[in-house]
């Protein structure tokens, strides 16, 4: 397919890897923020093309992975209520909460449906006026315009039996939390290309300046990622800390104006808990008061509470780039995609699942 195949050209990839090797004289640790990039890096073996001096660590950009466990519990509780059709992206169904996951709720008789788009859930609300249709609105900035439009449309068209269970998180505050941590080892970032497609990249300039880190807006195909790494290394070697755009075919400096306008109309910023990481100030979205009637937590009268995590799961450290998945003692042994201890082993974009699938987690399991 155009704009995919040509960015997977092996010869061009090797040439870029050669340029990276020639540019690298010192050890550098670079974090790719988005789980989609992590998946591509591990799948295509991009890290194995790089000189040993460069270490890639995997970031928190997996919305499924960072959705707090209490929201999974709330989802299970809402889904089990009579007269509810609970809609979600497929990735969320097997994420474990403290009371099981959505898939087991479905097995017990709850009407849980996998949808491709929030508009599919809205269409179900239209055709099932006697049911409460709830959409699990999980995602980063990339997904926020879609969810904002669904709620806006429900509001405009008076579709009162539709609501969102909102678990929206924002990337720049998470990057700042990583940089501010005493355990931080990240020296440069590949910023998430589709988050920046929506939001632009102006808000990264203060981060780059304050923490002296280069931030390169990067796409998702092998050549995109290699180009992002190359520009990042070139800055690191030159002692620069600028924001650069290596994904200009999709990303404009100011992002997508129409999408940002609708996000601002429907959502407002709030503090959010990130699974495995904890609360990060101003790192989430909630519905504004005009749209609060579409908030599923309010509609179903679910109080705020927090839940303690399984202490064995190290996903919080993985998501902050402190630990590689295979360094976790449970990886591939007590934690597998079939029996995950945490969400990073469930989501197709979770770092643990990517290593398990492409780097022989299964072999290690067989040896143990």
């Amino acid at each position: 397919m155009k704009f995919i195949d040509e960015y997977r050209d092996a010869r061009a990839a090797r040439r870029l890897a050669g340029a990276i090797a020639r540019a690298t004289t010192r050890p550098w640790t670079i974090m790719e923020v988005c789980g989609g990039q992590t998946h591509a890096i591990v799948k295509f073996g991009i890290d194995e093309l790089l000189p040993d001096l460069i270490t890639l660590v995997h970031g928190p950009g997996c919305p499924v992975c960072v959705t707090p466990v209490e929201l999974i519990d709330k989802a299970v509780e809402i889904a089990a209520a009579p007269g509810v059709i609970f809609c979600s992206f497929g990735d969320m169904l097997r994420v474990p909460g403290t009371k099981g996951d959505l898939l087991s709720a479905k097995a017990r008789g709850a009407d849980v449906r996998v949808v491709y788009s929030p508009l599919d859930a809205l269409a179900l609300a239209r055709t099932h006026p006697d049911y409460q249709v709830v959409f699990f609105a999980v995602g980063f900035e990339t997904t926020a315009p879609a969810n904002a439009l669904a709620v806006h449309q429900a509001h405009r068209q008076g579709i009162a039996n539709f609501s969102l269970l909102v678990s929206h998180v924002l990337v720049p505050p998470a990057m700042e939390a990583i940089l501010a941590s005493p355990h931080n080892r990240v020296q440069g970032f590949l910023a998430a290309g589709h988050v920046c497609t929506v939001m632009g990249y102006q808000e990264y300039a203060p981060l780059a300046a304050r923490y002296r880190v280069p931030i390169v807006v990067t796409g998702f195909e092998p050549l995109d990622i290699l180009q992002g790494i190359y520009l990042c290394v070139r800055q690191l070697e030159a002692g620069q800390a600028e924001v650069e755009n290596a994904y200009a075919r999709s990303v404009r400096r100011g992002g997508n104006r129409e999408a940002r306008r609708l996000i601002a109309e429907v959502f407002q910023v709030r503090p959010r808990r990130w699974r495995g990481i904890g609360e990060i100030p101003q790192s989430g979205l909630e519905l504004r008061s005009d749209y609060a009637g579409f908030d599923a937590e309010r509609r179903f009268g679910l109080a705020d509470y927090s839940v303690e995590e399984s202490s064995e799961c190290q996903s919080g450290r993985v998501l902050q780039g402190i630990l590689k998945p295979f360094e976790c003692p449970a990886f591939g042994a007590r934690c597998t995609p079939e029996h995950p201890l945490g969400a990073t082993m469930v989501s197709s974009e979770g770092a643990c699942a990517a290593y398990y699938r492409y780097r022989g987690g299964g072999i290690r399991e067989a040896q143990l």
């Binding site: 397919m1 155009k2 704009f3 995919i4 040509e6 960015y7 061009a12 040439r15 870029l16 340029a19 988005c34 789980g35 989609g36 950009g61 997996c62 919305p63 499924v64 992206f89 990735d91 491709y116 788009s117 929030p118 508009l119 599919d120 999980v138 995602g139 980063f140 990339t142 997904t143 315009p145 879609a146 439009l149 806006h152 449309q153 998430a192 589709h194 988050v195 497609t197 929506v198 998702f220 050549l223 995109d224 180009q227 200009a248 075919r249 999709s250 990303v251 404009r252 997508n256 129409e258 999408a259 609708l262 989501s347 974009e349």
Partner: protein
């Protein structure tokens, strides 16, 4: 989760504003896509599509940059085994 796939707009429906939509071909697989966020996109343009919504129009000129750069590297490269 933030996956977005490039596809080519093959037709645009009557809806305007937030209801603007069209049919987008992903290598021959055609889907209905909301086009509210890409008011500048026309039939024949490529758009990046995420959960049924176009979030950007692909800038074809910018898309060529990396290949121009690679070609430049090729020209500058010293042959490994000089003749």
């Amino acid at each position: 989760m933030c996956l977005a796939v490039p596809g080519r707009i093959i037709s645009i429906a009557d809806g305007a504003g937030l209801d603007r939509s069209g049919r987008v071909s992903f290598g021959g697989v055609v889907k209905e896509v909301n086009l509210a966020f890409v008011p500048e996109a026309a039939v024949g343009d490529y758009v990046m599509v995420h959960v049924g919504f176009a979030i950007s129009r692909v800038d074809e000129r910018e898309a060529e940059q990396i290949f121009a750069y690679l070609a430049q590297m090729e020209d500058l490269a010293v042959p490994e085994e000089p003749a």
